[in-house]
Symmetry: C2
Subunit: 598 residues, 2 copies
C-alpha cells in the first residue's frame, strides 16, 4: 500500500504533466448526495479523514482539506502526517476552498476536477470567484482511478420491490402525479439524479449504500416514457416486467450522459443544480431550455401519505422496543464488565436486527461516552472507542432502516451520579425539545421561524449548539432527507414551509468540550391542529418512543406544561412499548416511564 | 376641481397621444422612502386612497390600485366611485401589478412611468416579467404635472443644525467613517438618495415632511469632496460655512442627475437600487462600475452611539410624561363628554408639544375605538373619527420627533368593563411582548429568528397578526428606519443581525374584524448581556415608559417571570415618570403601576 505522501506526489506529477495548477476533490459521488459508496470514498483513502463533509484542494506546494466546525477536532487528529492541512469552512471568516483558489492561484491558471462528481452549483460558485483572474476550468479530469489500484467496485446487490402495504401509493399514480406537476411547470423532461427520488417514484429499494436503501441510478421522466439508468442485472425480472407495463425503459447506468445528449433541443428539462453533475449538464444539447429547481419527487415524498404515516407509527414501536431492550440490558450489566462504545453500538444493532422488516442502521451509530460526546458527530468506529465508565454521560444516537420507515433517535443517560451542572444542561436541552414538540404555528410557517423554540432556554443561559435543530427524514430511504429543515440559517431547506405529513427531527443539544455532550432527539410529524378565523394552524406529534433519563432532570426547572407533556409521553411509551417486553423489562420500563414527582 | 373620472379620462387621452398602453403610478417621490411630501401625493389626489403602500396601473379599459392586506378594507371604501378597482397584493396568490401587466398587455405593448419616482429595483422587477412579451418601457413619462394645476409646491422650510449634544458624533468623523467603509469596498463615489442618510451624515435636520425631520436632498460622497444637492436657500448661512470647511459643495437639487453624468466613467459608484430612481441611474456614465448595496450611512446609523442612547433614555421619560398626563386627563373626563378619536389625537399632540425639543408627531396618530382598532393602520384623520364609547377597547399608537430622539408607542386600554375574551386576547399579546422584550440570543441572531417569541402565545390559541413584529427606529429621523427588522419574512431587513445599540419596536397585536384591535408596542434597545464560552449573548432593554392597562390582564395566564417583568417595568415607569407629574397625576400613576396581585 502506498502512503498518503506517495499518493499526493503521484497526483502532483499527473497535474504537472497535464498543466493543472489546482486539483479539487469533493466528498461526492455521481449522485451528489450525503451518503456515498466505498467505491467513491476517495478522501478517506487519500488523506485519512472520514467525516461526511470535505473538499480537498491540491497544488504543487499545498494540500488542504476544508471541512466544517463539526469536524475540526476530528480532522486535526486524522490529518496528522497526511501532508494535508485543515482549512476551516463555514462561518469562520476564513476563505472557502474556491475563495482560497481565487486568492492563491495566478492569473490564467488551470483548475481541474472530475466532472462526474462535481455539481453544477459547485462549478458555478467556483467560476464566480475565479473568473476575474481568468482561471480556466477543466471538468473531465480523473487523476484517481489509475492510482487507486485496490479500489472497491460498486455494489452488485439487487434492487427489490417496496410493496404497496409499506409505501402506500402505486408507481403509476406517483408517475402521473409527477407528470401533472411537469405540465404545470411546462417541463418536457425531468432529470432525476438523486437515487432516493428514483426509489420513491418506482417503489423499489436497493442495497448499494451502507445506510440508505438506495440503488444507484438515474432517471429521465418524459411525458410518455421513463428512461431508467441502472445496472440491468441488479433489477430482478419480476420488477423489470412491471416496469415494461409502465413504459419504463431500462438502460445501462453509464449511458446516462449519452442519452441526455439525444434529447430534443427544442424541449425543456428540469434538474436540480445541487445534485446534477457537470458531466450530465454538459451532455444537455445546446438550445435545450433548462429549468432549475428541487426535483418534483423530492417535494412530493417529503409529505408522507397516510399508509406511510401508519407504518411510521408502527416502526417507532419496534424501534422503541429494541432500544428499551438495549437500555435494560445495559443497565443490568455487572459493574466490572468493561464495555466499549463499539460493543454498545453492536448490541443496539443486534436488538434492532430482531425485526424482520429491518434492513440495517440508518447511519453510523454514535455511542459517545464522556468527553467523546462533546464531538457532535463522534462515532466510535472512527473515534477513540472508549470504555464506558460510571461517572459521566453517555450519548447514543442511532437509527434503523426498516421496510416500514426510517428511525433516528438520540438519548443521553447518566452512568453515575449526575452533577448539578449536568442536570441543568440536560433539563435546558429537554425544555427546548419539548418547546419545539409542542409548537403550534400557522400554515406556511418555515423551519427558520421555529428553530428558536428549541434553543431559547439554552440562550437564556449563555449556551448554544452549532448545528441545525431538525432535518427531514425519508421513508425507508435517507435518514437526512429534505427539503424541509429547522435551522437558524435561511440558505437551505429551512425556507420550506412545514407541511402536514412531514417527518422531521427535533434535536437540541449542548457540547462541553473536554467534558460531555447532551443531545435529546425525537422524530416529529407535522399535523393539522385546528382551523380558526385566523387560518389553519399546525402542530407536531412526537413519534419516537424511548424514555428520557429522569435522573438527569432538574425538576424545579420544568413548568407544569412541560411536566405534563413528559409524563404523558412516558405513559404513551409504556403503553405502546411495554407489551412487547419481557416481564422484567416491563417492570424496569414502568419505573423509567413513571410520572415525575411534583 | 375636476373629478376622479375626468382625471382618468385626461390621463388616458395623453396615453393615447403618446402610444402608451399602460401607465404606472407608484406611491413614491424621488427619494423612494416611506414618507412623501404633499407635492408628490399623486395617488390620493387621483383616486382618493390615502394608504402608504399603493401602485396604480391605468390602461385604456382598466384602472387598478394594488395595495396590501393592511389596507384592503380602507381601499374598498376610499376607491368607491373613483373608477379604480382594488387589486390585492402580498401573499394572496393573485398577480402583483407587474404580473398583471405581463398577463394583460399584448406583445410589443408600451408601458410608461415617471422615472423620477420609479426605483431601479421596481423597473428591474417589471422588466423581468414583461421581457418575454417584448413589452417596451418608457421611463421618462410624466402625465401628471400638467394635469394637476393646484398641486402644492415643495416645502421651503429651512434646514437646521442638529447639535453634537443630541447626535453625539461630529460631521467630520461620520464622513471619515463612511470613507473608510468605501475604501474597504473599493468604492470611489457613494450616491445617497435617502434624505435620512444625508441628515445623519451632515448632522442637520429639515422640515420638508410632516412626520420625519428631513430636508429633501441627494448627496454624492467622493473621497475628497462631497456634492450636496438641495435648495440652496433652505440652508442657513452658518451651516453653509461649516460645510465649506469640510469641502461639501452645495448644488441645486435639480442638478443631481446632471452631475452624476459627469462622474469619471472609470470609477466605481455605490448605490441602493431600492432607493435610487431610474432617472438617476440612467444618468450614470456608461462604463462606470455600479455596486449595489444598502448605503453605508444606513448601516452606521442603525447602531446608536452612546450619546444618542442617553438621549433616547431621556426622551422616553418626556414622552412617558406626556402620555401619563394624557391618560390621566382622559380618565378624568366627565362621563357625558363625548370625545372623538381626533380630539384625543390632538390632545396627545398638545401634551407632547409642551417639550421644547419636540418637533412634531413621528407619524399620523392612530386613535382607534372599538372595531376601528381592527384596521391595523386606521387613522381617525382618514377613517370614521368615531366617538369614544365606554364599552370597548381603545387603541392609541402615537409617537414624537424630538431633537433628542424619536418615539413610537402603542397602548390599548379598556373604556368599559373588559370581557373575558378581551382579557385573554390582551394577555396573549402582552405575553408575546414580554417574550421578545426578555429574549437572550447569541450575537449574529437575525430578526426572523426572534419573531416567533412575540407570536407563539397567539399561535397556541389559533390567533395571529398580519404584520411584522418590529421595525427599526431612527434618531430624530424616520420612525421606520432599517435595515433591521423583526418579521417572519426573510425578504427584508429581518436578515440583518440584531446588534447592540439598535433601536427597534416590539409590537405584537391581534385584530378581530368588526370587534376590536389590541396592540401593545414598546421600543427596545439591544445591548450586550453576557459573554460565555459559547460566545457573546445579547438582550433587549425596554425603553418606552407608559403603563400597561392592568384591568385588561388575565392574571392566571401570566407566569411568575412575566409578572415579575411587568411589576419591575411598572416600578421603573413610576420612578422615572412620576417626579414630573402633578400630585394628583402622581397618585393616579402609582395605582396604574402598582404591583399585580399574585
Amino acid at each position: 500500500m502506498i502512503s498518503a505522501n506517495e499518493k499526493l506526489a503521484h497526483i502532483r506529477s499527473e497535474m504537472q504533466k497535464n498543466s493543472i495548477d489546482a486539483y479539487i476533490i469533493p466528498y461526492a459521488d455521481p449522485h451528489l448526495g450525503e451518503y456515498i459508496p466505498d467505491h467513491w470514498q476517495i478522501i478517506p483513502w487519500l488523506c485519512g479523514f472520514t467525516g461526511s463533509a470535505a473538499t480537498l484542494v491540491i497544488t504543487d506546494s499545498f494540500a488542504g482539506l476544508w471541512t466544517d466546525s463539526r469536524y475540526f477536532i476530528q480532522a486535526e487528529q486524522q490529518l496528522a502526517g497526511s501532508g494535508f492541512e485543515l482549512k476551516k469552512a463555514g462561518n469562520t471568516g476564513s476563505p472557502d476552498y474556491s475563495q482560497w483558489i481565487a486568492g492563491n492561484l495566478n492569473e490564467k491558471s488551470v483548475v481541474a476536477f472530475d466532472g462526474r462528481t462535481f455539481s453544477v452549483s459547485m462549478k458555478r460558485k467556483l467560476e464566480s470567484v475565479t473568473a476575474r483572474k481568468n482561471i480556466s476550468i477543466l471538468s473531465d479530469c480523473d487523476l484517481i482511478s489509475e492510482l487507486w489500484t485496490d479500489r472497491l467496485p460498486l455494489s452488485s446487490e439487487k434492487a427489490f420491490d417496496h410493496p404497496i402495504e409499506f409505501c402506500g401509493k402505486d408507481r403509476a399514480r406517483k408517475i402521473s402525479e409527477i407528470r401533472e406537476q411537469m405540465k404545470i411547470m411546462n417541463i418536457d423532461y425531468h432529470l432525476l439524479t438523486s437515487p432516493e427520488d428514483v426509489m420513491w417514484m418506482l417503489n423499489i429499494r436497493g442495497k448499494d449504500l451502507k445506510y440508505s436503501s438506495l440503488l444507484l441510478s438515474f432517471v429521465i421522466v418524459g411525458m410518455d416514457q421513463i428512461l431508467f439508468f441502472a445496472e440491468e442485472n441488479k433489477i430482478p425480472m419480476v420488477l423489470a416486467r412491471t416496469f415494461d407495463d409502465l413504459n419504463i425503459i431500462m438502460l445501462p447506468y453509464e449511458e446516462t450522459d449519452g442519452m441526455i445528449s439525444t434529447l430534443p433541443s427544442d424541449s425543456t428539462i428540469l434538474l436540480n443544480p445541487l445534485s446534477t453533475s457537470v458531466l450530465l449538464q454538459n451532455a444537455i444539447p445546446p438550445g435545450m431550455k433548462i429549468v432549475e429547481d428541487i426535483s418534483i419527487p423530492t417535494k412530493l415524498k417529503s409529505v408522507k401519505n397516510k399508509v406511510e404515516l401508519e407504518n411510521i407509527s408502527r416502526v417507532m414501536v419496534k424501534d422503541g422496543v429494541a432500544l428499551s431492550k438495549f437500555f435494560y440490558w445495559f443497565e443490568n450489566q455487572p459493574p466490572d464488565n468493561q464495555l466499549t462504545e463499539l460493543q454498545l453500538a453492536e448490541k443496539i444493532l443486534e436488538f434492532r436486527a430482531k425485526n424482520t422488516a429491518f434492513l440495517g442502521p440508518s447511519f453510523s451509530t454514535i455511542v459517545a461516552y464522556g468527553e467523546n460526546g462533546a464531538l457532535p458527530h463522534y462515532s466510535p468506529a472512527t473515534g477513540s472507542n472508549s470504555i464506558i465508565g460510571n461517572e459521566s454521560l453517555l450519548m447514543i444516537d442511532s437509527g434503523g432502516q426498516y421496510l416500514d420507515g426510517t428511525t433516528d433517535i438520540t438519548r443521553t443517560i447518566s452512568t453515575g451520579k449526575a452533577t448539578a451542572k449536568q442536570k441543568k444542561d440536560f433539563t435546558l436541552v429537554l425544555k427546548g425539545m419539548i418547546g419545539l414538540a409542542t409548537a403550534r404555528f400557522p400554515s406556511g410557517t418555515k423551519g427558520y421561524q421555529l428553530d428558536i423554540l428549541a434553543r431559547k432556554f439554552l440562550w437564556e443561559n449563555g449556551l448554544n449548539y452549532g448545528h441545525g435543530t431538525g432535518h427531514g427524514v425519508g421513508f425507508c430511504l435517507n435518514v437526512h432527507e429534505g427539503p424541509q429543515s429547522i435551522s437558524p440559517m435561511t440558505n437551505n431547506g429551512s425556507k420550506t414551509p412545514i407541511e402536514p405529513g412531514m417527518l422531521i427531527s427535533n434535536e437540541p443539544a449542548i457540547y462541553r468540550e473536554g467534558e460531555y455532550g447532551i443531545r435529546t432527539e425525537n422524530l416529529i410529524v407535522c399535523y393539522e391542529y385546528e382551523e380558526t378565523e385566523f387560518g389553519q394552524f399546525l402542530g407536531f406529534d412526537t413519534v419516537s418512543l424511548c424514555y428520557i433519563d429522569k435522573s438527569l432532570i432538574n425538576l424545579t426547572m420544568l413548568n407544569e406544561k412541560e411536566i405534563k407533556w413528559l409524563d404523558s409521553y412516558h405513559m404513551e411509551i409504556f403503553d405502546k412499548v411495554g407489551p412487547f417486553l419481557s416481564e422484567a423489562e416491563n417492570e424496569w420500563l414502568k419505573k423509567k416511564t413513571s410520572a415525575l414527582q411534583h
